[in-house]
């Protein structure tokens, strides 16, 4: 698969990821640059100025960035999900107006989660209230990834007896972005709590005019987010495998490299199997996505769930193999350990994915 990450970014991400992680911030200019090159949402069609990558090619790009810097990869997930929401939920005029901005340097985030609405969407309290040619948005979103960098927010809420996603500029009066002080992982991904206090935007910002079910809207947006997180976890796994094999081949104890000790060798084997299993699950799901096959939906859930589980386990294993070298709160393995844990929570927790997978197993047997 052709590698679409230009070499200069490979170098800067590899060199700076630890410093950005420690500072809790990514350089805004770098994000705008990546955005202008279409790399943050690489599946935006060429007709809108995007790179027009398929899910598989974008997945490899996501894994590549994810192996270097989990925070930058998180920003890709947010931007890509915002672009996907606009592409799927927006009407043709909205797509033509907004998608070129997202590949032109504008940064976007998706505001979905609320205090009482995580896995259970029935708790969403954000109101998008029509008022003449405008809508008024009021609510409080939590843990909005990339919100501190964003020019635009795609906000999900209740609307006219149904639901809608509405595009809100972060400069609009009534928008307050409060950074999450110390996220456990992806520390530079720009997580923030977002207050929307009577924010008035044109009614034309409501994607597709709104009206449909919240569950289906969110499922649509998450379909992309899950693929992006799953491939990001493949990146985490590759970083863990690389750091662990390099260390185990070099570090000597008892007169030989620790890779020669069977208990360490077994851990290396498990890391390798985890990386392969996650990659194959992601390749399968992306293949179904690119073929526009209905089973892309559950293949995406499966890929996200299994990749996140593998990545979280691999982060812990890699720290164990590196031992005192992995115990400093810096470096690819420490970041993997922290970042991967969040991947078991974001875009559907392990438990939510398990329920969906169980439901799928049951549903395919019980259609009337």
């Amino acid at each position: 698969m052709p590698d679409t990450l230009p070499a200069e970014y490979e170098t800067v991400l590899a060199d700076q990821a630890d410093a950005w992680d420690a500072a809790g911030a990514l350089p805004h200019d770098l994000l705008r640059e990546l955005g202008k090159r279409g790399l943050l949402c690489a599946q935006v069609p060429t007709v809108h100025g995007g790179l027009g990558l398929g899910s598989g090619a974008n997945g490899e790009l996501t894994a590549h960035v994810g192996a270097l810097c989990g925070s930058t990869r998180s920003v890709m997930t947010s931007q890509g999900m915002a672009a996907w929401a606009i592409q799927r939920l927006g009407d043709p005029e909205q797509r033509a107006a907004l998608l070129p901005d997202l590949v032109g340097g504008q940064l976007a985030a998706v505001a979905m989660t609320e205090r009482d609405a995580g896995s259970d969407l029935s708790g969403v309290a954000t109101e998008i209230t029509p008022d003449g040619d405008t809508v008024v948005v009021t609510g409080a979103k939590r843990w909005t990834t990339a919100a501190t960098y964003a020019d635009l927010l795609v906000v999900f809420g209740r609307h006219a007896g149904g639901a809608a996603a509405v595009v809100v500029p972060t400069t609009a009066p009534g928008v307050t972005i409060e950074p999450v002080p110390t996220p456990l992982g992806c520390r530079a991904a720009g997580h923030a709590h977002v207050e929307l206090d009577g924010v008035r935007v044109p009614a034309g910002n409501v994607l597709g005019g709104g009206g449909p079910s919240l569950a289906l809207l969110v499922t649509t947006a998450l379909a992309y987010g899950r693929m992006s997180v799953a491939w990001g976890c493949v990146g985490i796994l590759r970083a863990c495998l690389r750091a662990s094999t390099e260390h185990a081949a070099r570090r000597e104890q008892g007169g030989k490299p620790i890779a020669g000790h069977q208990l360490v060798a077994r851990q290396l084997a498990e890391l390798y199997v985890a990386e392969r299993a996650a990659t194959l699950a992601c390749e399968h799901a992306s293949g179904r996505w690119d073929a526009r096959s209905p089973d892309m939906v559950m293949a995406g859930v499966l890929a996200k769930y299994s990749s996140a589980r593998h990545a979280a386990a691999a982060g812990a294993t890699a720290v164990q193999i590196l031992a005192s070298w992995g115990a400093a709160d810096s470096g690819p393995v420490a970041r993997a350990f922290r970042d991967a844990k969040l991947m078991e929570i974001i875009e559907g927790t392990n438990e939510t994915c398990q329920l969906l997978l169980a439901e799928h197993a049951l549903t395919t047997r019980s259609l009337p």
Binding site: R88, L89, L207, P212, L216, L217, T219, S293, L356, L367
Partner: protein
């Protein structure tokens, strides 16, 4: 093909898809939501199936569960979108 035949063909294609998954017949007016099987994930699968099979684009306000409750409602949606392809 007459309009009625075209509608019948769409209906039988959709019910064949659902029957493959169900392992049994699906009546054209059977309410998938009432039967408890029209989760948002299943609805999303149906969206992708209808789009890829019939060359339509189901976006924006058409993404409502009511459109996917029965074979009949899916036929109505596909028929309408085929008549107004400017939404693609």
């Amino acid at each position: 093909m007459t309009t009625d035949q075209a509608v019948d063909s769409v209906a039988s294609t959709i019910s064949s898809y659902l029957e493959t998954k169900a392992g049994g017949p699906v009546a054209h007016d059977a309410d998938l939501a009432a039967a408890g099987v029209l989760t948002s994930m299943v609805a999303m699968e149906i969206v992708v199936f209808l789009e890829s099979t019939f060359g339509v684009s189901i976006v924006g306000r058409d993404l409502k569960l009511d459109n996917f409750r029965t074979v009949d409602s899916m036929v109505a949606l596909v028929t309408r979108l085929r008549e107004n392809p400017d939404n693609a």
